[in-house]
Amino acid sequence: MSAELDNLYQEIILDHYKNPHHKGLREPFESEVHHVNPTCGDEVTLRVHLAGGVVEDVSYDSVGCSISQASASVLADLVIGKPVDEAMTIHQTFLELMQGKGQVVPDEDVLEDGIAFAGVAKFPARVKCALLSWMAWKDATAQAQSEGVTS
């Protein structure tokens, strides 16, 4: 069992947890969302700043467990500076990994540190933790984009 546990709590995850990247709420931003994991209460407030079809910044404030915290940090690393389309593809890849019940082999080229979450997919109760900030980011990005269209 300890092997399974180590597989869940990979060093990379614990590092991101202890030293989260891009954490804190920053300006400018086009949209801000607040997402909650209703079952456990983990929360994230997340802002997106888009410019010229590129994810210029993702900033966030969050409370939660190591998995949800580390995953926000990895998300920010992965999408900041990427074209929105490409970021969405990364999102999709991460989602598939999480929903794959441990059967999906992660693509390190796309997910970089995100591959450390492969072990999480085997713990259904923790998948929601890992996805919290990713869902928030998708939601915020959709809002920012529709802002752009209507304004």
Partner: protein, 411 residues
């Protein structure tokens, strides 16, 4: 007999209660399945396995038992979604029974003075009283389709009943008293034409014919677990996801929330939105096993079996002097519940004599008083078959009815 389920003997072995011997050494002839169905061993065993090995609360629990229990509960949702051909698993809400599902809708659909709700005279009380109460609370008007002498919906004045002020059209798919199968696709279309919500009570349909919510095109549909070989304590509300998410919350409590402060709360989306508190976990798991069991036998095959038994029963019953069957007489146009009167003997007394011969039927108004009143009777006797019913059991019923007549010295 052509049309019976091929392995009827084997199927009967799946139901332990069918081996029950009653008072006086009488074998059980269970003809009360429209009231509640019997349970196959696989449903009972699945529940026992859950209670003995996987029991834990769901969603909230982070440990292995919690994960197993959640997985079992949520996969029951998948099974029910497949059973109904629902576009999304989120559309399947577990309730306590069909009655709660109907009341949930009657409590949360917004109604007001000037609005109207259309039901029918052949509804089960659960699909009448729930809307009566909703209309009383809101000031909306309750209207209903009457019945023809043949026991069908009288659609003659449909164009006057359903109008631009109609908010809900709620009707049963199969009548639990008359057996009538209603033209659900047509009724849904009539509701839709006026922008009204359609609510189908499939409590008697789900056990015996294929239910495909996408093919029917309705907005909401309910059924109850204990009539589809599942346990008591579990029912299903299906609804279109967008519509369900627009409804205000029903019960407030655990799991239906997004966040709670003392001052105010926000609510989760479906299905959790309407599953406040610890849900009927082992019951949902049992229901999942039940719909799997039915799916394995095949709803088409079950439907054919029911029609075959029903045809045979209609013939046998009509051979009894003084007996008159209520509702459609064509087995292909009806479900497997057959209510009848026997001249000179009250339904209670019929049921009592039948019971002394091990034949279990229902006597009374079957929670359908208005349909009885429509036909000028206060109560009736009802036999209802299911996938385990044999022609020999129908013979036993017919013979017991002959005996009843001679016992009460009628005719």
């Amino acid at each position: 007999m052509e049309g019976l389920l091929p392995d009827l003997d084997v199927i009967r072995k799946d139901f332990p209660i069918l081996e029950r011997v009653l008072a006086g050494g009488q074998p059980l002839v269970y003809l009360d399945s429209a009231n509640t169905s019997q349970k196959p061993q696989i449903v009972i065993d699945t529940m026992v396995d859950h209670l003995e090995r996987h029991n834990a609360n769901i969603a909230r629990a982070m440990h292995q038992l919690g994960a197993e229990s959640t997985e079992a509960y949520e996969s029951a949702r998948d099974k029910v979604a497949a059973f109904l051909n629902a576009p999304s698993r989120n559309e399947v809400i577990f309730t306590k029974n069909a009655t709660e599902a109907l009341n949930l809708l009657a409590r949360t659909i917004d109604l007001g003075p000037g609005d109207n709700v259309v039901i029918t005279e052949m509804e089960h009380h659960s699909n009448i009283v729930s809307w009566q109460l909703a209309c009383e609370r809101s000031g909306a008007e309750l209207r209903w389709f009457g019945l023809t002498d043949g026991g069908e919906l009288d659609l003659g004045n449909a164009d006057r009943l359903i109008d631009e002020h109609t908010k809900v059209v709620a009707f049963t798919w199969v009548s639990n008293m008359l057996g009538t199968i209603n033209p659900v696709v047509d009724l849904v279309a009539r509701a839709k034409a006026f922008g009204a919500l359609s609510v189908i009570d499939a409590s008697q349909a789900a056990p015996q014919l294929p239910v495909d919510v996408q093919a029917v095109g309705c907005d909401f549909l309910v059924f109850t677990g204990h009539k589809v070989c599942g346990p008591t304590g579990i029912g299903v509300l299906w609804g279109r996801e967008a519509l369900l998410n627009e409804l205000p919350p029903f019960h407030g409590g655990g799991e239906m929330i997004e966040t709670v402060t003392m001052a105010r709360s926000t609510y989760a989306k479906v299905p959790h939105r309407f599953e406040a508190g610890t849900p009927p976990i082992v019951e949902a798991v049992g229901l999942g096993a039940a719909v799997d069991y039915l799916g394995h036998i095949g709803l088409d095959a079950i439907h054919t079996h029911e029609q075959t038994i029903t045809r045979y029963a209609l013939e046998g019953l009509q051979s009894i002097p003084g007996l008159s069957v209520m509702g459609p007489l064509d087995a292909t146009q009806r479900g497997g519940a057959i209510s009848f009167e026997l001249e000179g003997v009250h339904p209670h007394d019929i049921a009592q004599v039948l019971d002394s011969r091990g034949v279990a039927v229902r006597a009374g108004h079957h929670c359908a008083k208005p349909a009885h009143a429509r036909f000028g009777v206060q109560s009736s006797t009802r036999m209802s078959s299911y996938l385990y019913t044999t022609p020999a059991e129908i013979d036993a019923l017919v013979e017991a009815l002959h005996h009843t007549r001679s016992y009460f010295k009628v005719g």
